[in-house]
Amino acid sequence: MTPSPSRIRRLAGAALMLLVTSLVIFLLIEAAPGDPAEIMLGTSAQADTLAALRDQLGLDRPLMVRYLAWLGGVVTGNMGQSYTYGVPVAGLIAERMLVTLPLTLMATLLAVGVSVPLGVMAAARQGRAGDGLATVFAQMGIAVPNFWIGLLLILVFALKLGWFPVGGFPGWGDAGWGDAGWGAISALILPAVALAIPQAAVLTRVTRAAVLDVAAEDFIRTARAKGLSRHRALWRHTVPNALLPVVTMLGLQIPFLISGAVLVENVFSLPGIGTLAYQALSQRDLIVVQNVVLLFAAIVLAVNAGTDALYARLDPRLKARQ
């Protein structure tokens, strides 16, 4: 099906935003102090060897040429060389993605799995016990920093009870699951919980508010007038119409999920992209910082474009106008 004009416009908009974002990142890194050649060879290296390296890395080419070269590289998977490790940045990121991706996915699934039913239950029992409890949980969940939860989880479940490792990541093992797989999973459980709790709290409140808003609509009263019980009307009419705002909110949570990942990876010393960026900053490995920040920005923009498209597809009124 040929993409409709509004979808093309939305994709073009997202692409333009990504381009502008990459330019902002590139310029900020350009302006940052620190000469890559010195970082790689140490400050004591001779001037001419430094100059030779700088030339080899093409650091002397004009700004815009280097920006476009970087962009061209990113598109073809060549993000440049890490100053400190001397290996392709893309490889580093891919390797670290094997930690961050499952971590954030586990956290999101956990958050959605807990918050949507809890939010619906709280709305269905508005004003009664269940609602009060869910609201208190949500208030608490939003207020506690996820890295603090991480520390507490380590204190209780790792140090005191010893159910989980204190931190670190044994890797996925060569092929298939085997015990290495389980080791990796168990290393991700506490971090995923720490990352999931604030998300779950926010989504519980959003789901509850969305369900309450829809429950006040006239067509719910029509459903009840057809003889549907409160429960049946809730699941057949209220919840489907309430999912739309929840999906939108999920999209808006991505930046917080990424920030959380950087913190939680740090607490549990997981070799994820968050710690990569954080260490690269302290080692002045700016090419790594540059690419990681672009990657995260791209994820945020992609998810937002995705939720907008999903919103249009899910809501028949919008689809008609497309």
């Binding site: 009263r221 007038a225 549907l228 009124r317």
Partner: protein, 262 residues
């Protein structure tokens, strides 16, 4: 079939209905007229057992020998849609925007009579014809926002009549519609009442709408029953000042039609 005895409804301390008595037999149409704040919609919701939690209702709403106010929720669910149908005022918001109209009409049939999807769909086609929606075959799978106000109100009627209830409550069914569409909706309601022999409670703030098809008329003011009787008597020889002000508020043209008739 429906007999209400001393119905009182309060929201917290605010009285909405203070002592209503009425009865409605099968095949008859009772007009309920009152301005905003008169409690006419509260009465409709009370008969459906759909009053909000904050409402307290006393008295008796007899329907086929049982009192709706004391019936357990499960029995009420079996009653709603099946034995008592309801049409609402705002066609724009009374239908689920994300569900096709065919499914919304069939829902009651599947729930109460356990029809299969295929049988329910056939019955829905018949219902769409009954409420005179043109080209039903095309329209059955459309979404509410694809229909006009008048067509949506017809879908509302189809929903309410899906299980040929004994009692139909229409709460301001034509207020949000254009005058020409209003007339069509009232005619459809009237034909169906005659054809199916159901009892209709027609609620409106406009005496002109009531007069068109109501056999008896009841006048409500701030939750109190002002006057009740055959429509002709109430219009020609109103027994209460408030009814006279209601009549007086009607445009002169409409009132003129009253004087020259026998």
């Amino acid at each position: 079939m429906l007999s209400i005895r001393n119905l009182r409804v309060t929201f917290g301390e605010r009285p909405a209905l203070n002592g209503i008595d009425l009865s409605l037999a099968r095949g008859r149409t009772l007009g309920v007229v009152g301005e905003s704040g008169s409690g006419k919609s509260v009465m409709a919701l009370a008969v459906m057992g759909l009053l909000p939690r904050t409402a307290r209702a006393t008295g008796r709403i007899g329907f086929d020998g049982r009192d709706i106010l004391t019936m357990p929720e499960r029995d009420l669910c079996a009653l709603r849609g099946n034995r008592i149908g309801m049409i609402f005022q705002e066609p724009m918001t009374a239908l689920n925007p994300a569900m096709r109209i065919g499914a919304q009409i069939a829902e009651g049939l599947i729930l109460h009579q356990g029809l299969s999807r295929r049988d329910a769909r056939a019955k829905v086609m018949h219902l769409l014809d009954m409420v005179r929606i043109p080209r039903a075959a095309e329209r059955i799978d459309s979404f509410p926002h694809e229909l006009s106000g008048g067509q949506r109100q017809r879908v509302g009627i189809a929903i309410a009549l899906a299980l040929t209830p004994d009692l139909l409550i229409a709460d301001e069914p034509t207020t949000a519609l254009d005058v020409t569409v209003q007339a069509q909706i009232l005619d459809i309601l009237d034909d169906l009442v005659a054809e199916l022999g159901i009892a209709l409670m027609l609620i409106s703030h406009d005496l002109g709408v009531i007069a068109r098809i109501a056999d008896d008329t009841l006048v409500l003011y701030r939750g109190t029953l002002i006057e009740q009787g055959p429509t002709e008597r109430v219009l020609r020889r109103p027994g209460h000042d408030y009814t006279r002000t209601l009549l007086d508020a009607l445009p002169p043209r409409v009132r003129a039609t009253l004087r020259d008739a026998p």
